[in-house]
Symmetry: C2
Subunit: 236 residues, 2 copies
Amino acid sequence: MTLKTLGAKAAAALDQELMSTCAFSLDQLMELAGLSISQAVYRVHPPSKGHKVLVACGPGNNGGDGLVAARHLFYYGYHPSIFYPKRGKNELYQRLAKQLEDLQVPFVEDFISAAENTDHIVDAIFGFSFSGEVREPFPAVIEALQKSDKPVTSVDAPSSWDIEQGPPKSGLGSSFMPTALVSLSAPKPLVKHFTGRHFVGGRFVSPMIAEKYNFQVPEYEGVDQVVEVDVTGMKL
Amino acid sequence: MTLKTLGAKAAAALDQELMSTCAFSLDQLMELAGLSISQAVYRVHPPSKGHKVLVACGPGNNGGDGLVAARHLFYYGYHPSIFYPKRGKNELYQRLAKQLEDLQVPFVEDFISAAENTDHIVDAIFGFSFSGEVREPFPAVIEALQKSDKPVTSVDAPSSWDIEQGPPKSGLGSSFMPTALVSLSAPKPLVKHFTGRHFVGGRFVSPMIAEKYNFQVPEYEGVDQVVEVDVTGMKL
């Protein structure tokens, strides 16, 4: 059995279909995606290992998922802080940021020093729509993630990796291997190059959609919103 | 220590504040509320006790919470069916119903016979905005809930109970005592008359809001979205 994956174009089409034909709102999907991420972080790095979590958010939906995850992490007893240098203009992102501000979660400006002073990092910078070059101010962030000795959990893709091809052949990001990866809805082709702990999240994919997009929904347990899988996609 | 509760007016003001100052959308809150309910049902009635769950939904937000709960229950492996005789006109409710239709969750018309053929019932008919009389077609439904030997989990209030005063002194609903109650955000005054298992859900109330509305947020465990409490509001 080999793991079925969802390429960048198919992942975009799936998202679009969930929000049109399937009648989900982005609010709903992002809430459930962020919740999945927070549960994966809890498994990889329970609060007993340290309460400080730095969440690096990019300007798009990956960053939005990170904002939601940070809120849930706060409620689990973590002390999250947020690096969000390019705030998305979408009003949903602004509301998600406001929800964190109301919890007095700090937004930090200096990623490098914040990364030195945390226990865990969530990489919610780029997701399945990333391609091409890492734009400013993120090259220094990827560099820091790559060098960091702190555990990192990436959302949908290790940021800077090509969705289909995996890590860049050389230079920035080529030696970035996060501790854990949370694939949302379905793993992307890059997982073939990933050697850390792999979770699948987003427990809202209907059997109809999984069949149409030709991937398997792994077997979640109980009320879990996330499931750890092996290289073939089977539940661990 | 006595349990602090939130009266009907305060609960309405809190909801309003969450969606204005606190920048939550109804989509988000309803998703998290429904998720809480589904987790409480899982504890009261795990799938090993029977997979069939009948969710009775009223025309307002309580019914919307029930629709979300039913979707999550489907993903936990239950076989939900929905009784939703007065569909709310809000487009969110319509989308939540569509999400269930896509999972081929049946919408039933005859509550009485559906209630005889299920393992568990979720009462998501009336919530904290209920007052006065039970309108058609719900009197027969309350009657059936009251007489049923199936376990019932009520959302925010046993339907037909007065939010402040509890069960009606006589007649319809006066002997309705659900197996479990899920109080969303905070318990309502009616809990003083409730003798079943009591859960609090809705893990999105900030310390600031709890302080302003003068209630305690119980201590949730791990990543749980629901917590079972005793009569004083302490975690069991």
